[in-house]
């Protein structure tokens, strides 16, 4: 059974259809990369999965459990617990500036636990930051960190909630080229460690490298879908070929 099934997801803004029926599924431990030109709806898709936008139609099924079905409305409290199936790493990091790196990571888990669990949570936070290569940066505030370091804190923060599926929206687009590598490296390690991930990215070489599955989105639909070898190396769809022409040349 796939860990995630998305069925016929639709979303429109101001009467313009942005997502025109998106369906795909993802197996546990796999990495899915989403490519596509600007405005094709990639961010909107991730935002729908995280309940930051409400889809107009469709279903989202996680581990066989329907967590969103437009036909069956849910309460605010259900949304709050359902969205914890997903983690989100934003293009702009969105760290909380008044908290240190470690506090950013442990804040939300602590809010959901009783006080006797705090030592464990802090231990977990430190481990995650270690894994991100930030053991000497735990007590720094976000403004004292480079963009690449901030994004790695943001990844640790998302992991601390143990989501079933971790989503990234162009995690390196706000970074200088020399900082991109360090972030891609930790994402790659997560892929090797079998974290289930959905990555929206313009780093085609990286996507080819880490992904089990590639989706190419065009104008609100999935234009191409398959393994990196199928979609990137031998694109059948003319739109995909055009999009990748810069990469291949």
């Amino acid at each position: 059974m796939p860990i995630l099934e998305v069925k016929n997801l639709k979303k429109c803004f101001d009467k313009t259809d942005i997502l025109k029926g998106i369906s795909f599924d993802l197996e546990k431990g796999q990495t899915l990369s989403i490519l596509g030109s600007s405005g094709s709806g990639k961010t909107t898709l991730l935002r729908c999965l995280n309940f930051l936008e409400k889809p107009d139609a469709g279903e989202i099924v996680v581990n066989g459990e329907t967590i969103f079905d437009r036909a069956k409305p849910v309460t605010e409290a259900q949304i709050k617990s359902n969205r914890l199936h997903f983690g989100m790493v934003f293009q702009q990091f969105n760290l909380f500036p008044q908290y240190t790196a470690l506090e950013n990571v442990v804040l939300a888990p602590k809010l959901m636990a009783s006080a006797d669990k705090y030592p464990e949570i802090i231990e977990m936070g430190k481990n995650l930051l270690n894994k991100m290569g930030l053991s000497d940066r735990m007590n720094n505030y976000p403004h004292q960190l480079s963009g690449g370091q901030q994004q790695r804190v943001a990844i640790a923060r998302a992991l601390a909630m143990s989501p079933d599926i971790l989503c990234f929206d162009e995690p390196t687009s706000a970074l200088d080229p020399e900082l991109t590598g360090e972030v891609l490296k930790v994402i790659k390690e997560l892929a090797i460690g079998n974290t289930t991930m959905i990555i929206v990215t313009h780093e085609i070489g990286f996507a080819h490298d880490v992904s089990d599955q590639i989706i190419f989105m065009d104008d609100g639909v999935i234009a191409d879908r398959g393994t990196p070898a199928q979609v990137i190396d031998n694109p059948s769809n003319p739109r995909t070929r055009q999009f990748l022409s810069n990469y291949h040349s």
Binding site: A108, L111, P142
Partner: protein
């Protein structure tokens, strides 16, 4: 003479201080309340509140004091505040609180609206509810941003309290001026400036301390 004048001005300054403190204590929460109304999605709530803010900020406080004190009697035949010292003080306090609440509300609105939407979204995807998001994430960032403009308003308020004189509320300038009539000397009036200076100096120190305490993040 110097001692007599100083004691009299000190007494007048107590009146100034009373108006200052009560205005602050009441107008800050009222201002927060008004700012929430002015950000309401419903135009029937937001519209009238923005209109009132515009009127209050667009007219002199001195005029507002006169209208609030004399208005009820002149227009409705109901001298709401009475002619006594307490009534005049209440009218002045009402005018000050309303006026400053409107100014504060705009500062709060600016502060709250300046927080990037990404902060709310990051909190939401981590499973925080609205209350946790506001108190754990948003509030301190807002406070940090509004301390400088609030500090400006507060120091303006120290000096604005002297306007209460137009409806004969006793404060320090009133007392200073009374020496012109009673003893024919004008220096006590000028001397009041020292009290204002010292007090606003104290407030400046206090606010820069608060700003420093919030300096650890950006």
């Amino acid at each position: 003479m110097f001692f007599t004048v100083t004691m009299s001005l000190l007494e007048g300054f107590l009146g100034t201080l009373k108006l200052f403190i009560l205005t602050l204590v009441l107008s800050l929460p009222l201002g927060l309340f008004i700012s929430l109304g002015s950000m309401n999605k419903n135009i029937m709530v937001k519209g009238p509140i923005r209109f009132i803010i515009w009127v209050v900020r667009g007219t002199p406080l001195m005029l507002q004091l006169l209208i609030i004190y004399y208005g009820p009697g002149i227009f409705f035949g109901v001298p709401l505040w009475g002619g006594g010292t307490d009534g005049r003080f209440m009218a002045a306090l009402f005018a000050f609180v309303f006026n400053y609440a409107c100014y504060f509300s705009e500062i709060f609105r600016g502060g709250i609206q300046s927080i990037p939407v990404g902060q709310y979204e990051a909190a939401a995807v981590l499973g925080m509810d609205k209350k946790q998001t506001f108190f754990k994430i948003i509030l301190l960032q807002v406070v940090k941003r509004i301390v400088p403009p609030i500090s400006n308003e507060v120091i303006t308020l120290v000096k604005d309290t002297s306007l209460a004189r137009v409806i004969a509320v006793y404060e320090i300038i009133w007392n200073g001026q009374s020496f012109i009539k009673s003893s024919g000397i004008i220096w006590p009036l000028f001397y009041t400036g020292v009290f204002y200076l010292l007090f606003s100096g104290l407030l400046t120190l206090l606010f820069s301390y608060i700003e420093k305490r919030l300096d650890y993040f950006r």
